[in-house]
């Protein structure tokens, strides 16, 4: 198990990360969410052992592998691989890039070539193998970088905004490839994303980071909007739907719809709630016993938290029609 203990990390005296404990269990699928500058990338670099914490320790199965005084050794680093937000390919062809980590482990020849062909196929980069790095688009570079990381079969794969340069279809394909790889050999994946939909769609465990600390509130259903001037109750466009919100504020803002304030129904709702949206259940998650996270596509993706009993009574399953309702006054504005 990979673990940060009492880690505090600062750049030129400014603390950017302050975590009492952060663990990545074997086979875990963790999403770290948070806005830009919340410390996600720093956290991943510390976990990847490519940066040492200013204070505290990084441990692997209880043994310290990185600390202010201990420089991480290559054998420890070889179990964890990081794909950075804007990954860089080395000089040479895509094939040479995919071979890099294998060569570093003394693996060459037919077996290494088979591994390269396999991961290239999985990530859909087989046609790019002979290309040089400057002949690739940003999205292709990102896929090659993920393939290069998977080629070395790490125990923990760390991904920093892995689909930031990909379109929706490419992102789905990438996540599907990761899921397949995980099924095949049970690696732990820890991905940082500011896209909550991705986090909820793919991760079992969501951890929110704010100002370098783990936030007790998971920032579900957050939307960046432009609030119009005028009336107290405003209708704000979020994707294809309009959300009613009660606020005197105007201008740029972030709306948060608390998942516990959303009523879930399988029948049309007639109520005082100003926000009523119908759609389909896309995912049911059970983060802890008795609690169900219902993710529904109602034009945008919304998450509601209900009890296990309610979910059972409503007979919810992925694909079920569902209606979400919440009051305009329940929407928080930041």
């Amino acid at each position: 198990m990979l673990e940060l203990a009492g880690v505090r990390h600062a750049y030129e005296g400014r603390v950017v990360l302050d975590l009492e404990r952060f663990t990545v269990a074997p086979g875990a699928l963790i999403a770290i969410v948070g806005h830009n500058g919340s410390g996600k990338s720093t956290l991943l670099r510390l976990l990847a052992l490519v940066e040492r914490p200013t204070a505290g320790e990084v441990r692997w199965d209880g043994a310290v592998v990185s600390s202010p005084r201990l420089r991480p050794r290559a054998p420890a680093r070889r179990r964890i691989t990081l794909v950075e937000q804007r990954p860089m390919l080395f000089r040479g062809t895509v094939r040479e890039n995919l071979a890099f980590g294998l060569v570093a482990r003394g693996r060459r020849g037919a077996e290494a070539q088979n591994t390269i062909e396999r991961v290239a196929d999985r990530l859909g980069v087989t046609s790019l193998l002979a290309r040089q790095r400057h002949e690739l688009s940003d999205g292709e570079v990102q896929r090659v970088a993920v393939a290069r990381a998977l080629a070395v079969a790490p125990d923990v794969l760390l991904l920093d905004e892995p689909v930031s340069s990909a379109d929706r279809a490419a992102a789905q394909a990438l996540y599907a490839a990761l899921a397949e790889e995980r099924r095949a050999r049970g690696l732990a994946i820890c991905l940082a994303s500011h896209q909550l939909e991705d986090a909820y769609r793919w991760a079992d465990d969501i951890r929110a980071l704010a100002e370098g600390r783990l936030s007790p509130v998971t920032p579900e259903n957050l939307f960046r909007v432009e609030l119009p001037a005028g009336a107290e109750t405003k209708h704000v466009r979020v994707g294809p739907i309009g959300i009613a919100v009660t606020t005197a504020r105007e201008g740029p803002a972030i709306l948060a719809v608390p998942p516990t304030d959303i009523f879930v129904s399988t029948a049309p709702i007639v109520s005082s709630a100003r926000n009523v949206f119908s759609g389909q259940v896309t995912r049911l998650g059970r983060p802890r016993p008795g609690v169900v996270h219902v993710t529904a596509d109602v034009g945008i993706e919304l998450i509601a938290v209900i009890t296990e009993e309610a979910a059972r009574d409503l007979g919810l399953a992925p694909g079920s029609p569902v209606t979400f309702a919440f009051k305009a006054s329940a929407v928080r504005v930041f």
């Binding site: 052992l49 490519v50 290559a74 680093r77 804007r86 890099f100 570093a104 990381a149």
Partner: protein, 231 residues
Amino acid sequence: MDFLGEGLHRALQLISSVDPEVYGIALLTVKVAVVATLIACALGMPLGFVLASRRFWGRRAALTVVNTALAFPTVVVGLLLYGLLSRRGPLGGLGWLYSWQAIVIGDVILAFPIAAALSAAAVQGVDPRIRRTAETLGAGTWRTAWTVAREARFALAAVITAAFGQVVAEVGAAMIVGGNIRGSTRTLTTAVALYTAQGDFGLALALGIILLVMALVVNVALQLLQGRGSA
């Protein structure tokens, strides 16, 4: 103008007639320059690498010392080395004073800070993600350094060129510790200084032209190498 024209004419005559003394001086210069550049780069470039890529106590001070050493006057280096290598000096037992080895040592002392400071700057210019990516893919210290060096190859080639340029053009230290002895320690620069002082302008100019051609050949060779590796 006649003076310059006559000098140039004599220079071309000496070069085309394959004058043994001129070519002996040129060969010694090449030998000293290549050996000194290799040693200075072999010592300076790893130091530059460490200074650029590791964080340790005293790193800033070390960088300051190396950068200051760039401005070390060549005659002062010659003087100090003379003190060390003279018969009563601590290294007098080597018997290297007025030998080509003494010139090499002087040149290494002068080119070492160039190799260290410029390669530190070259490595610092490489995107830090390259090092992190190499490390996260399991590369050890040497493979990581090699990967970073490959990315900085143009700047590192310029380091070698600059070190060679310093060595091949150096005159002060070579004069003091080499002694400018005919057939033994006379290099192109010390010979140019001597023949100019003696009024043999043509010979001095011939040697100067050979010096420039040597610098040109080295630069072209390095550029060709860079071109081959630019894919």
